[in-house]
């Protein structure tokens, strides 16, 4: 059963819809006239069946609950083609990001790698610490061995401010 089939049983939720629209800036899904230019060029259409025009109409119809509990919003590759090409400035990319944010706010399921990246930023300021890499000849190299300057990570004050903004 696809997401659109589920809609026939679902009830529109205007409150959640408002939460998405309030997050958007200079983007208006309401202007979408379903030309499907976004979907025709979508990086994730073929492999993951992401259809940005469907996401847009579902938000416009108030079926936000169904979207935030669906895996489909995590199928976007952030290639930004839909945002560039939309003739109505409805940018499905921005809508998808707003839906992801709402998923986090509602403590619904988020791909683990995202939470790991955030935890690492809290820890070091970056999504990962400096690593030892191997050359084609399988020799190990780190920054020092390659003659690169030592890394300067953000200080603890950063951590406090970042956690504050994450907490809303």
């Amino acid at each position: 059963m696809s997401l659109t089939d589920l809609m026939t049983m679902a009830k529109s939720n205007k409150e959640l819809q408002k939460k998405i629209l309030d997050q958007l800036w200079k983007v208006n899904p309401d202007e979408c006239f379903q030309c499907m230019r976004c979907t025709s060029g979508c990086t994730s259409l073929k492999l993951l069946e992401l259809k940005p025009h469907e996401i847009t109409i579902l938000v416009n119809s108030g079926f936000v609950e169904e979207l935030v509990s669906s895996d489909i919003i995590w199928a976007c590759a952030s290639c930004l083609k839909c945002r560039e090409r939309c003739p109505q400035k409805a940018s499905p990319y921005d809508t998808i990001m707003a839906l992801r944010n709402l998923t986090v706010e509602r403590e619904a399921k988020v791909p683990e790698a995202y939470m790991k990246a955030v935890a690492q930023i809290i820890e070091t300021g970056l999504t990962q610490q400096a690593q030892t890499v191997t050359s084609r000849e399988m020799q190990p190299f780190n920054r020092e061995k390659l003659g690169l300057p030592e890394m300067i990570y953000p200080n603890d004050k950063f951590k406090v401010v970042f956690m504050k903004v994450l907490g809303g």
Partner: protein, 291 residues
Amino acid sequence: MKVAVYWGCKIPTAQYAYEMSVRQVFPHFDIELVDLKGASCCGGPVRSINTSAAMYLSARNLALSSQTGLDDLLVPCNECHFMLSEAKYRIDNDEEMCKKVEDLLGEEGFKYSSGVRIWHVVDLLHDVVKVDTVKAKVKKPFKGLKFAVHPGCQIIRPSEIGRVDHAEKPRKLDALVEALEAETLDYSEKLDCCGAALLYSHEDAALSLAGSKLKAVQAYGVDGFVDTCPYCHIMYDARQKEATATVGGKLSLSVFYYTQLLGLALGIEQEKLGLHLNQSFDSEKLSLNDP
């Protein structure tokens, strides 16, 4: 000319060849790079979690840049370049977001400045240094070699916020490769995405996207593939073998950062440009002029 440089996360922690080659080539054009101190992530992955937190992260790096007293900031990663440009566009035009970010930056004693000019390797070389100057410095041209270029997604879109090249017909990276006397080609998969952002949620699909593009490019019979983003490079170089497995067939395509090719053409040794770190470089198949 002095330019501040923001390396982001992937370049200074793993994609060392890009950092090494960027550091090597710019002094040849009288551009001195000044590192930001204590820079954080640009907020790329954070955007999916909390947009305000992502805007704050980018704004913090812009504030660090203005602290250097320099007007220009080089951002060699495509994703970081998008996030910083997006944050700047939003903060400069959205009072509510501006106030929010300024309050947060104030807690660390930072001040947001809208005056920072954001550059990528591609437009700094193409628009500021100029193609003719690049051409004039070439000591070891790549005559007879043909490269396919991968412009990537996030430095060319969305054009409303001001991007590095044309959103649908990017040609600057081609022009920079042609300045090294190599040939480039126009191909129908040129704008296809590397898929790196999907590593967070759909790894197989990500590798399959990378594999499909590599397969198509190899079939055109090129000598190599050129990119300018650490994420794209991870997909096409470090993970080329896994990407190959998703599409079948045998792939062997040498992938380079543009700054590595430029460095070689300027006469810089392979080792200084981190060429030994490129997993896909087949030095037996492709002979590059090492001094």
